[in-house]
């Protein structure tokens, strides 16, 4: 398995097969004297913007911080040991409803989409 070829940019699903995003970046740990180890994957616009360069990264982080009203905005992380299956999609043993990953979609549902009749 090659990390960049086989994991990066793959579709991520949770244990209910809900599509929750793509593997936007991979977090590896470096300890002295040991080979690097993958510890987590990251999802979300901040992780994605970092790949485009430092300027888009800092704009996106600032925008995200403003929108969420927090001091610092970080990408969503899923620990690598939660991975359950790697096939067409990569499945993690998590429940998206217990994370903040869909916070913006939930906000949309509650404030915009859900208010339109027939939704």
């Amino acid at each position: 398995m090659q990390l960049l070829r086989d994991i990066l940019d793959k579709q991520v699903v949770d244990r209910e097969q809900v599509k929750i995003g793509k593997v936007d970046s991979i977090v590896a740990e470096l300890k002295p004297g040991k080979p690097p180890r993958v510890s987590a994957v990251e999802l979300g616009s901040i992780a994605l913007a970092r790949r485009l360069g430092s300027a888009p990264a800092s704009w996106t982080a600032k925008l995200a911080a403003r929108l969420t009203g927090r001091q610092q905005a970080r990408p969503h992380r899923i620990a690598w040991n939660k991975v359950r299956d790697i096939g067409v999609d990569i499945e993690f043993d998590i429940d998206v409803r217990r994370t903040r990953i869909f916070a913006w979609q939930d906000w949309l549902r509650d404030h915009v989409v859900g208010r339109i009749p027939g939704a």
Binding site: L4, L8, D9, K10, Q11, V12, V18, K19, I20, G21, K22, D24, L43, L48, R51, L52, V88, W104, Q105, D106, L108, R109, V112, V113, G114, I116, G118, A119
Partner: protein
């Protein structure tokens, strides 16, 4: 028997997707000005799109990825962002043109200016996407699209010299209006080889849960459906050449000239048929393009997507098509000429082709996606041809836009 039904439904659907404002307007303009001489562009465009659609369907059926998923996964986000942005822009213009097409049909039918129809049309399309399922949109609307067959009937009833039609299917150099000739050829190719067509087709294959057992069905649908659509375009071109050209209308620069096409053959009903064809073909295409925008964004970023889900289960996806539809209606509501926009966006589509077609060369030859169902020599040659064609079109369409555009 079930397969046969599936194939015929698929064929009908792809006809609905193929024939839209772009192919009708470009074929009519080309026929009026150059007679049968540009039939080759329709034929060439149809052959190219058959190959691309077959590959998009095969890729989805074997790898269970849509084309957008595949591009992002195989090439990474930093490469994917270019086809993403360009396709979003081109689709937006095409969607605007389709809404304009329906609005013009409504103007022809009621006498109320097309500008007033843009938002109601967008609303109706939105309502169908909001409440409808994929099956309803795919089958219901495209079934109505069969009314466009009236152009083929009309073309046959006009008794064209079939020998001349055959001569027209071979490329030849123009005797007059050289820049315009090539610009028309580019626009016809852009109208036939639309990225939204094959990208939508691959999303549809995933929505309909295709697997390897659908490979034969896929081949039949791609081949028959697209040639069917191409035949109707040729029908439009022949009718335009024989009716508009013969009445001295060589410059189709106004939609109001177009309904004249069918009147000599069908009388008053010709007018009704033309308006119905225009409205239905453009409306169906508008639904597909709006959905494709939402598919593209949702697949690109990995959100939940599916036309069969309720909007509250995929709020991001539903919001994309909602915003796209209403924003695309704005230029038409402000009075932008739908015909000019159509021709412009078709040429731009052609120029954007390399970005979406180059990935086919890699995806369809990658064992990890398509395994033993990878491209043969003929399919690869076809892809390389489309890419080369796309590059040439990209280089020439901008100067032609200036010198040959309407």
């Amino acid at each position: 028997m079930k397969k046969l039904l599936e194939i015929s439904l698929g064929v009908v659907t792809s006809v609905g997707g193929f024939l839209e404002v772009g192919s009708m307007a470009t074929a009519a303009q080309a026929g009026a000005l150059f007679g049968f001489q540009l039939i080759w562009a329709v034929v060439l465009g149809t052959i190219c799109i058959i190959f691309l659609v077959e590959m998009a369907g095969r890729f989805a059926a074997v790898s269970h990825h849509t084309i957008a998923d595949g591009i992002r996964e195989r090439f990474g986000f930093n490469a994917f962002i270019w086809p993403l942005l360009v396709t979003l822009l081109v689709n937006f213009l095409v969607l605007s043109a389709e809404i304009g097409g329906v609005a013009i049909a409504a103007e022809l039918a009621t006498g109320i200016s097309f500008q007033w129809w843009a938002l109601p049309v967008a609303f109706l399309a939105w309502l169908l996407l909001w409440k409808g399922t994929f099956g309803l949109i795919e089958k219901g609307v495209s079934m109505l699209g069969l009314v466009t067959l009236c152009f083929v009937v009309a073309a046959v009833m006009l008794r064209p010299e079939w020998q001349e039609v055959a001569v027209g299917s071979v490329p030849s150099l123009p005797q007059h209006d050289t820049a315009k000739y090539w610009f028309m050829a580019v626009s016809i190719l852009g109208a036939s080889i639309s990225p939204y067509l094959f990208m939508f087709y691959s999303s549809g294959a995933i929505e309909d849960r295709w697997d390897k057992s659908y490979l034969g069905t896929n081949r039949a649908i791609a081949g028959l459906g697209m040639s069917f659509g191409g035949t109707i375009s040729v029908g439009v071109l022949i009718v335009a050449a024989l009716v508009l050209g013969a009445h001295g209308v060589t410059e189709v620069d106004d939609y109001n000239q177009l309904p004249l096409m069918l009147i000599p053959i069908f009388g008053f009903w010709g007018f009704v048929l033309f308006v119905a064809s225009l409205a239905i073909a453009c409306f169906g295409a508008a639904l597909e393009v709006a959905l494709q925008q939402a598919y593209l964004v949702a697949q690109g970023f990995g959100w939940n997507w599916g036309e069969d889900l309720k909007p509250r289960d995929d709020p991001g996806f539903s919001l994309v098509y909602t915003l796209t539809l209403f924003l695309a209606a704005v230029p038409i509501a402000l009075g932008l000429d739908p015909l000019k926009l159509t021709i412009f966006s078709m040429a731009l589509t052609a120029a954007s082709l390399p970005l979406t077609v180059v990935p086919f060369l890699f995806l369809l030859n990658d064992d990890r996606y398509v395994g033993e169902h990878r491209n043969g020599v003929v399919s690869n040659a076809a892809v390389i041809f489309v890419i080369a064609l796309g590059f040439v079109l990209a280089v020439v369409s901008i100067p032609l836009q200036i010198f040959g555009g309407t």
